[in-house]
């Protein structure tokens, strides 16, 4: 192929095949559009290849290993050992299954897939760099979904022993000593996983708490579990620099009292945030403006300042989560197909696959107070739930937050076993403007964890059955 020779016309061009882009492509195709999707790497994006899916596969393997290593059930004796290479092979098989699925779905929906790196050359044209040349694509509409990449700190340059989440997920062995710089959800999920597999883990966090976006009482339960695995947590600590040698790495940091300390490890994992991939795609040539945070400016329909280009996912404002990317992908595709869709969610759940799991949706108690003045709060502990007791998993609680004036649920937090599944009902409740009474009057099966949702609502109404009214 000769460079720049022909200009191909495409109806809808999607750039980036992560959970934002591939979902947008499928929805647009379903709505009758002819769709081409371009990705420079694997289908599925960060999420399927280097994010959600591989991390959760390792987490569930570690959970299974741990549950068998230390049986929580009296009378059941179990032992466990692992072969990390095989665990990684299995993880890869999970990833391959999911990305293979995406390929099938794109094919089944007749989406044209191009492997290559795209950048804008004009407001309605991109050039796609491929292994053996390049091609030009002129589009009627474009959906930009190029996602994000780990932030690299100047004083902690990546190397053989200074790694990011992608590096950590592909280690072929369990490090003896692992330092995690950044105690956000990615750092905690990975740190706790390696701790379960036997690493001596230290977490260096700049703020005064790990998982700072979550309720302190929720975080306390995760900290308790981390302690079980001898994970050291240094808060208000500032990483200063690293020194790599052949078989170890030294991290220097200032602790909360301002003392300089050095810690030696096999690897330093840097998880201090992610930055949007908006810098190398020629946005200026397409008339696409950025916010001062480097995110793409979009309206309620995901339209950029170039009216034919839409942007979704990690490159636009809002939480950098896969399900937000997919939601926006559907909106953008529908708008292009002429539907009156807008980004119109009342809430986005966020889940941390820590042990115990944490999940949150809508407003916290503090946020709700600011917004509504008076709030009604209902809190219910796992320890008073029959199913949790029968599962031997009684650490945790559910908290519901309602607008006191009308009883409408505005937020919910869950920490404990299966929090990731319990939160689903609460997200629907918020979207439906359900009241605490609606939830309390909905029969929840016995004995299930879902009963706690009903009981927390009763607590919020001042009529708790399974805890004594305080």
């Amino acid at each position: 192929m000769v460079v720049g020779d022909i200009v191909e016309e495409v109806e809808v061009l999607v750039i980036g095949a992560g959970p934002g882009g591939y979902v947008a492509a499928i929805r647009a195709a379903q709505l009758g559009k002819s769709v081409t999707i371009v990705d420079k790497a694997e289908l599925g994006g960060v999420c399927l290849n280097r994010g959600c899916i591989p991390s959760k596969a390792l987490i569930s393997a570690a959970h299974h290993y741990e549950a068998a290593k230390e049986s929580p059930f009296p009378g059941i004796e179990t032992t466990a050992s692992f072969d990390f290479k095989k665990v990684q092979e299995w993880k890869q098989s999970v990833v391959d299954k999911m990305t293979g699925g995406v390929q099938q779905l794109l094919k089944g929906n007749k989406v044209n897939v191009i492997q290559g790196e795209a950048f804008f050359t004009k407001p309605n044209e991109v050039r796609v760099m491929q292994e053996n040349g390049s091609q030009r694509l002129q589009f009627q509409h474009c959906i930009l979904a190029t996602g994000s990449r780990p932030i690299e700190l100047k004083n902690l340059p990546l190397g053989k022993r200074v790694i990011d989440s992608t590096g950590a997920l592909s280690l072929d062995h369990v490090p003896q000593r692992l330092v995690v710089v950044g105690g956000g959800y990615i750092g905690i999920e990975l740190g706790q996983t390696f701790a379960k597999f036997g690493s001596q883990v230290t977490i260096i966090e700049g703020l005064d708490s790990i998982l700072a976006l979550f309720d302190k009482q929720m975080v306390r339960l995760v900290e308790k579990n981390l302690k079980k695995y001898n994970v050291q947590i240094e808060t208000k600590a500032l990483a200063q620099g690293v020194e790599e040698t052949e078989d170890s790495v030294k991290l220097t940091y200032k602790d909360k009292d301002g003392n300089e300390k050095t810690i030696e490890a096999d690897y330093v994992l840097v998880t201090v945030g992610r930055r949007p991939n908006t810098d190398e795609i020629g946005l200026q040539d397409a008339g696409i403006e950025l916010t001062d945070k480097g995110l793409v400016k979009v309206d309620q329909q995901c339209r950029t300042t170039n009216p034919n280009v839409f942007a979704i996912g990690d490159i636009v404002p809002g939480p950098a989560l896969a399900h937000k990317a997919s939601y926006e992908g559907k909106v953008a595709a529908e708008v292009i197909a002429g539907k009156p869709s807008i980004v119109d969610y009342r809430c986005i759940p966020s889940v941390v696959f820590s042990d115990p799991e944490m999940a949150s949706v809508g407003l916290t108690e503090e946020e709700a107070k600011k917004e509504y003045g008076q709030v009604a709060v209902g809190r219910f502990p796992y320890a008073a739930n029959g199913r949790a007791t029968a599962l031997n998993a009684t650490d945790g609680f559910i908290k519901l937050v309602a607008n006191k004036e009308n009883g409408v649920l505005v937020g919910a937090q869950v920490v404990g076993v299966e929090a990731s599944n319990i939160i689903a009902e609460l997200g629907l409740a918020i979207e439906m403007s359900a009241t605490l009474e609606d939830i309390a009057l909905t029969i929840h099966a016995h004995p299930t964890l879902g009963e706690m949702v009903m009981e927390a609502a009763e607590v919020g109404l001042g009529e708790p059955i399974h805890i004594i009214k305080g």
Binding site: D299, Q300, Q301, R303, P340, S341, I342, D344, R346, N406, G407, V408, E431, M432, S433, T435
Partner: protein
């Protein structure tokens, strides 16, 4: 985000979608459902009353 500082209507996702389809601003509608929820009926009635405003992106 709130629009113009006004309270957002209490309404389910499909009622909100219906309002968009009919080109009315759901936040303008007084809901007749429980706790003031805007119902499908409310939206249709409002749309027929011709007081609809097209939703415009911010």
């Amino acid at each position: 985000a709130r629009r113009g500082g006004k309270r957002r209507a209490l309404a389910t996702p499909h009622v909100r979608a219906l309002a968009r389809k009919l080109g009315v601003d759901i936040d303008e509608i007084d809901g007749t459902g429980p706790v003031g929820r805007v119902t499908e009926e409310d939206v249709r009635r409002f749309a027929e009353g011709g007081r609809g405003l097209a939703v415009e992106p911010d």
